[in-house]
Amino acid sequence: MSEQHIKLPEGSIEKTTTTLNLGPTHPATHGVMQNILELDGERIVSTEQTIGYIHRAFEKIAERRPLYQITPLTDRLNYCSSPINNMGWHLTCEKLLGVKTPKRVDYLRIIIMELARISDHLICNSIVGVDSGAYTGFLYVMQYRELIYEIYEEICGSRLTTNIGRIGGFERNFNDIAFQKIEKFLKEYPDVQREFEKLFTRNRIFMERTIGAGPISAERALNYGFTGPNLRAAGVDFDVRTQNPYSSYEDFDFKVPVGTTGDCYDRFLVRNEEIWQSLSLIEQAYKKVQDFKGADAEIYHADVPEYYLPDKKDVYTKMEALIWHFKIIMGEIDMPKGEVYNSVEGANGELGFYLVSDGSRTPYRLHFRRPCFIYYQAYEELTKGAMLSDAIIVMSSLNLIAGEMDG
């Protein structure tokens, strides 16, 4: 196109596009993924993604661990909302074993899962803000994620990679302090969310940055296997909580927000609205849990003797509990033979677990259906013809968590 001011060496190809490496370490890629962009000036012509920079071989590790030892692995899939992964795995195991959990356990699980969903959507939305230059929202919101971490800590002892719950329920009953912390969160958080929305939702600069960036139509989204808020922003109201209700979601009244164009602004709004719906779900579940009185309020797990450790005082006094304790700790429990696929609504979409068991102590094959891995393929189509700054915003609004992508 232009005249040759530079003498190119023999045999070199003249390229009209610039190659830009949005490499594995980059402030805007949250987690490690590499994008090689071909740019024509400021416009993107094509992208090529390389992932696998944090491949930790979860599926291979899972083939040699008994079921309850796989929960810490699932924590590290989508580490922004680990309780959802944990609960999803426990639900899969309970489906394989044929265990029905009591209602109180289900409601407690819903509280924890919705807190995790809020926590993940907060990170995603505030990082969209940071990437478009607005750092303040992130700081406000991080302060309130600490409250969520305190709730997890009260129940299971850990902040981030929680390993919360057991097959059949929870390891201990929620104590008064946990309930007080949940109440504190429910009381204080709505105002913060309103303030966060006031900062961004009708902010002219934010709207100009995100409206029209990375749109996708519903048909293409379905073809690419999108699920979760990204699909709902494109207009399809597919939510695993309403389609295949698990853990007593059918007892609750909540709405599923849906967008129209599937661009970044729609994704942002859908996630914000899902935070409100999650808050409402937590309030309803909290009220329902408070309605259990007396002996019912002490139920925190189902009866799964093969996988749930018995009470220590029973272990010291009863023979059966002693035998179960030994067998569980030494890992000598055989699983029922069969294949099961179970999925839950993770913060990014349908998180599925495909478990093949051949009747021995560890799974024969465990495959995680990871939503991030599946929808990142569409990145090229989302950014075709967009400008470079749009590419960054699209990447952060898709909520790509590297741990879940590589697994």
Partner: protein
């Protein structure tokens, strides 16, 4: 069984809340203070470390919490996190490093200018963590020399801050001639870095 809910409601007197860093030893008089150069440089360097957060996985989220307002890392001088290796002092490797990522860590380390320090945050960066697999590098000290290891999975923000404070100790006490000396060269040689 219930213990009282613990919020920060007691008023602590200011004198126990603020700590002043100590003056190095030296001679002082009317309008001057004489001490050795490396003490002054150490004091200046350690209170203004610019970290490069190399956050790969879960420990990265705990780092985000550490940089937030609750467990502020900025009060230790690390206000400006940079992402360019040329401008940073401290490489904070947080999260699992896979074998595919190992050369990238090494490249970033090589691009940093002396003096540089490395902190391995989390079990995965220190020793491979719970992932003893074919694809995970069992600790970043296979590729770069590490100064401080912070164990935990993930370490609490207080632990990360403790790690940074130990780096501050190292930075403050480091001799100015260390980076040109033979022992340091031998250390880098053992990692294949000239």
């Amino acid at each position: 069984m219930a213990r009282p809910v613990s919020y920060n409601i007691t008023n602590k007197p200011l004198v126990s809340d603020i700590s002043m860093s100590e003056m190095p030893e030296g001679h002082q008089g009317e309008g001057f203070f004489a001490t050795s150069l490396d003490k002054v440089i150490g004091l200046a360097r350690k209170n203004s470390i610019w970290p490069l957060p190399f956050a790969t996985s879960c420990c990265g989220i705990e780092f985000m919490a550490t940089m937030g307002a609750h467990y502020d890392l900025a009060r230790f001088g690390s206000e400006r996190v940079g992402f360019s290796p040329r401008q940073c002092d401290l490489l904070m490797v947080m999260g699992t490093i896979a074998k595919k990522m190992g050369p990238v860590v090494k490249q970033v380390y090589l691009q940093m200018a002396e003096p540089r320090w490395v902190i391995a945050v989390g079990a995965c960066a220190s020793s491979g963590g719970i992932f003893d697999t074919y694809s995970v590098l069992q600790g970043i000290d296979q590729v770069v020399p590490v100064d401080v290891y912070v164990p935990g999975c993930p370490p609490r923000p207080e632990a990360i801050i403790d790690g940074v404070m130990r780096i501050q100790d190292l930075v403050g006490k480091e001799s100015l001639r260390r980076r040109g000396g033979d022992k340091y060269k031998a250390l880098l040689e053992s990692y294949g870095i000239q």
